[in-house]
Amino acid sequence: MVELRTQESQLLSALQEVGGAATVEQLIEKTGMQDSAVMRIGLTLQEKTLIAIHAKHQNVVKLTAEGEVYAKSGLPERKLIRAVADLGGSADLKKATERAGIEPQFIQIALGWAIRKKWALYTSSDNTLRIAESFLHQAFIPDGADEKLFVLLAEKNQIGFEQLKDDDLKEAAGQLKKRKILLIEPKTSRSLQITPEGKAAVAEAKPKVQEITQLTPELIITGKWHTSKLQKYNIAAPVAKTWLGKKHPYLQFLDEVCTKLVQLGFQEMTGTAIETSFFNFDALFVPQDHPAREESDIYYAKDPAFGDISQHAEAVEHVRETHENGWTTGSTGWGYKYSLLNAQRLILRGHGTCLSARTLEAKKFQVPSKHFSIARVYRPELIDRTHLSEFNQVEGIIVDENLTLKDLLGVLGKFAIEIAGADEVRFKPDYFPFTEPSVELSAYREGYGWVEFGGSGIFRPEVTLPLGVKEPVIAWGLGVDRLFMMRAGLEDIRMIFSQDLDWLRRKEVT
């Protein structure tokens, strides 16, 4: 037996009741369903071979917007003639049109048609309009074919042209079309016809249980759901998107890096975005006239412009001597006159290494000791797909007696495996003003290729000794931005600070 939904069986029964065949319009009238519903259900019934749908093409007659106005108020010539009759069967054209409420642009039309329909005579010498003799003694002038058509259209909205019974009406339709009062346009009208299977289905149809879309508390409480049927859903249909709250993918990645480093025994260092030139440069043996300190390479603070390094007087003095003549570090030094004022100049830190310098100087640790920082750093760069003006750096130090280049390479190798998930590592000579020897680390990962992942070195004695640290110190920095971009499939570094909410919403959590 064919399964029928409530509306399907309703439509099928209605069709049977009207004799097995009907137009869509007739069915709308019969069932009270919407046009679209009849068609939709009709199509499903046709799929089930319970009905056949026939399409018929014909011309239909339909009022224009102007026509609809006339259908209510009457044609302008009718209004005019009514006014003349009211004025005693003869009247001045101006008076008559005023009384009829005809707007000036329609006066010629109204007059023209009143004459053409032989309803009235007009004498231009005295501008007088008179009702024609033949109608003069009648109570009213009977409707013309055009006005009869109006009445029909007002009832039905639209009529098939072929359904117009009289030729008069057909002619009137043509005339009104010319007057742009109505349209004649092609239309496909559909009719439904029940098939033998359809008849059988109606016969078999049993009293239907009610179908339910949304299960409600009321249905549950009253127990009505027992006698209802829960409608099946199209579970493959697309649904509205839900946007949930999520952590930022890059910050989540930094969290991961932080966790790894803590697991590897590193302690986190912190500091402020604004730093003294002393810790950002001098303590790292960057001479005071070094190009990295030019305005094109580092941001300077305007106000406040100078910091306080008085609490680090001993370190400052040793750093000064080291820069000037090497102090007792065994270095030649830079051989220039060190400026204390320059050392106090406040900058926006250009790297996280200033935090390592501070940690070494503070000496609040027991050897061996391992430290790291995740620091926002600043450079006066123009922002483009490979440059940011501020970004995050992950770096740190290891302090221990007897650390060697072998340990340095070992640490880098460990990071490459633990943090970058590398399959292979490669080392190259590198340069930093504060480390010697210096090493660049490249990590290879299947599917990603080689990526320069970090820079590292052993702090120069010119860095550690003035800060009061006798042990060798390994300093390292990791290219976490590049690693993140590689993982997230990004090619534009600006996406780290993405202003695109849609991207953040859609980014999968990894």
Binding site: L244, G245, K246, H248, D255, C258, L261, G265, F266, Q267, E268, M269, T272, T276, D289, H290, A292, E295, Y300, A301, K302, D303, P304, G307, D308, S331, P368, K370, R376, P380, E381, L382, S389, E390, D400, T404, L405, D407, L409, G410, L412, F427, K428, P429, D430, Y431, P433, E436, P437, S438, I458, R460, P461, E462, Q499, D500, L501, D502, L504, R505
Partner: protein
């Protein structure tokens, strides 16, 4: 990091090696001197090489680069030898230059084959040295002249700008010094260096012909180098004698590498009465010696190299050996290796010659305890809570501008930290509160589906006289919700949930804040401490950001909340 341009064919020729344009192979070789091919313009045959070491200007020419590389390739061993024959060329230095630009070094180089690539290479080296070790000509600047047009002795003196005029390089008219500073491109670029003083440095020959106006521009008559020039006078002036002489040495050595023969000059530094108080011979090609401890080398590298092995590696790195015993190598450091300041610089060269990838890696477990920063846990909790409330975390710049932070927020400027050298108008200061960053974010997402709920947990920077850096950073949380029906109640409800889950009692007190609607803003208080605010954003602010939906937001100081909790 300087990037140097060299002609590929010149490089191959000077290297004495055919590389068949194999850039990978070249990169491998360049790694020894910390160089990397950035670009190879095959059409013009120009290689752009990035040199990571900012302290090795000896490598910044085709001549110098190949000098460094040939040792690593085993084509040469140890330092190259350079000589300058003594001549009668003297340079007299005016004592009035003492506070202006006191130092000069000169050399004469004869018989150089100045082909077009050689001239271009020379100009390129001159430019690199002026810009980097010369600190944009402030510290040193180089001048090169046709020696046959010059009649020594040369006079380096300080002149009154009104007294001198000459035709500068590239011009055809005589110009006064002030006109040069105003009209000549080099005068415009470098004029600030000399303008600080009433007298300007000038170089004359004994007949009063002008060589140049250092560090600005050469004279067009004597200082124009062409392929016809054979004998050159090279001169470097500057503020630091060591760098002045080093720079001259590098340029002269490059010309010797090109087949030139160098002659030295005597620099006579005069006192106020014109007597010579000191004379110096330049260039100075004498090499230094530096003792290198075998034990120290092995201690840093973790290797067990013998003195003999160290010597071999030093020679590969282009350094020389004066004396060796079991515990110490007396290293000859060539004059052009100005980067060698400490034994560690030699030790790195030993390691590079040994090959980093030939050294074993060690990972030693150490008895250290890892620890995230103290604030980390509360930051994590705060983020978890905001995510749980359905807010999307965002990350924005801390650099911003006053228009965003105050004008568009309908707020009076409050203390914040400005940059003295902003690069772009949109980044002129550090943010002192977070909400403007969120407003900017929302204004960039007007076409994205609503409702939008975002938050940022980030740092703000505030002036603080009591701190070493005269500033302090604070960790704040800011959240905003926006959709057709966003209102105060929604934001307060989220803030309430946030505090409840932190276990902190929140009070909302009446307050006024111009960024919010009057009567729809409250300050958040914990105990007797104000920790932030919550409110419905003022439509004036929405208009300023071109936002079309109401926004409700809160911003609270994370540290203060937790401080309140512990109380």
């Amino acid at each position: 990091m300087p990037t140097i341009d060299v002609e590929y064919r010149e490089l191959e020729r000077l290297l004495g090696l055919n590389l068949n344009s194999n850039m990978e192979k070249l990169d491998e070789i360049l790694a020894n001197v910390k160089g990397e091919v950035k670009l190879f313009n095959e059409q013009e045959g120009i290689l752009s090489i990035e040199m990571k070491d900012t302290n090795r200007p000896d490598l910044w020419s085709a001549e110098g680069l190949t000098r460094g590389l040939r040792c690593y390739l085993g084509l040469e061993k140890g330092p190259r030898r350079y000589f300058a024959e003594k001549t009668a060329v003297e340079v007299n230095v005016d004592s009035k230059l003492f506070n202006i630009r006191p130092f000069i070094a000169c050399a004469v180089v004869k018989g150089v084959q100045l082909t077009d690539p050689v001239i271009r290479g020379l100009m390129h080296l001159q430019d690199k040295l002026d810009k980097t070790s010369g600190r944009n000509r402030q510290k040193t600047s180089i001048g090169i002249y046709n020696f046959h047009l010059i009649t020594p002795p040369i006079k380096y003196c300080a002149v009154n700008p009104c007294d001198v005029s000459f035709i500068p390089l590239g011009f055809s008219e005589k110009m006064s010094l002030d006109e040069i500073l105003e009209l000549h491109p080099k005068g415009i670029e470098y004029g600030h260096i000399v303008k600080k003083n009433p007298l300007y440095p000038m170089l004359f020959d004994s007949e009063g012909k002008i060589l140049s106006f250092p560090p600005i521009i050469n004279s067009n008559d004597l200082g124009k180098i062409t392929e016809e020039s054979r004998n050159l006078l090279v001169e470097v002036t500057g503020t630091q004698n060591r760098t002045v002489v080093n720079t001259l040495n590098l340029v002269t050595a490059a010309l010797i590498d090109r087949g030139g023969k160098a002659y030295s000059a005597t620099i006579n530094y005069q006192d106020a009465s014109g007597d010579i108080k000191m004379d110096v011979l330049t260039p100075d090609f004498s090499n230094r010696t530096m003792p290198l401890s075998v034990e120290y080398t092995n201690r840093i590298l973790g290797l067990n190299l013998s003195a003999k092995e160290i010597c071999k590696l030093l020679l590969t790195a282009g350094l020389g050996i004066c004396k060796v015993d079991n515990c110490c190598v007396e290293v000859e450091v060539p004059f052009y290796r100005i980067d060698v300041m400490h034994q560690v610089d030699l030790i790195e060269d030993v390691a590079v010659a040994y090959g980093y990838n030939n050294i074993d890696c060690i990972w030693r477990e150490m008895p250290t305890t890892g620890k995230a920063k103290p604030a980390q846990q509360s930051i994590n909790i705060a983020r978890e809570l905001m995510v749980g409330l359905g807010y999307q975390e965002i990350l924005t710049y801390t650099l911003t501008n006053e228009e965003n932070m105050f004008t568009k927020m309908n707020a009076e400027p409050s203390p914040h930290v400005e940059l003295s050298n902003p690069k772009v108008a949109t980044m002129t200061c550090l943010r002192s509160w977070l909400l403007p960053s969120l407003m900017e974010f929302l204004s960039n997402n007007q076409s994205v589906e609503f409702p939008q709920k975002i938050f940022e947990l980030g740092k703000v920077t505030l002036p603080d006289e009591s701190a070493e850096t005269r500033t302090r950073d604070e960790e704040w949380v800011c959240a905003a919700t926006t959709h057709a029906n966003a209102n105060f109640t929604e934001a307060k409800s989220a803030l309430d949930a946030f505090f409840r889950n932190l276990g902190v009692e929140l009070q909302i007190m009446e307050t006024a804040h111009p960024s919010f609607i009057e009567g729809r803003v409250g300050k958040a208080r914990v105990g007797d401490v104000d920790v932030g605010f919550v409110g419905e954003v003022n439509p004036l602010v929405l208009e300023a950001w071109k936002l079309e939906n109401p926004i409700a937001a809160f911003e609270v100081n994370l540290q203060k909340i937790l401080l309140g909790k512990t109380k």
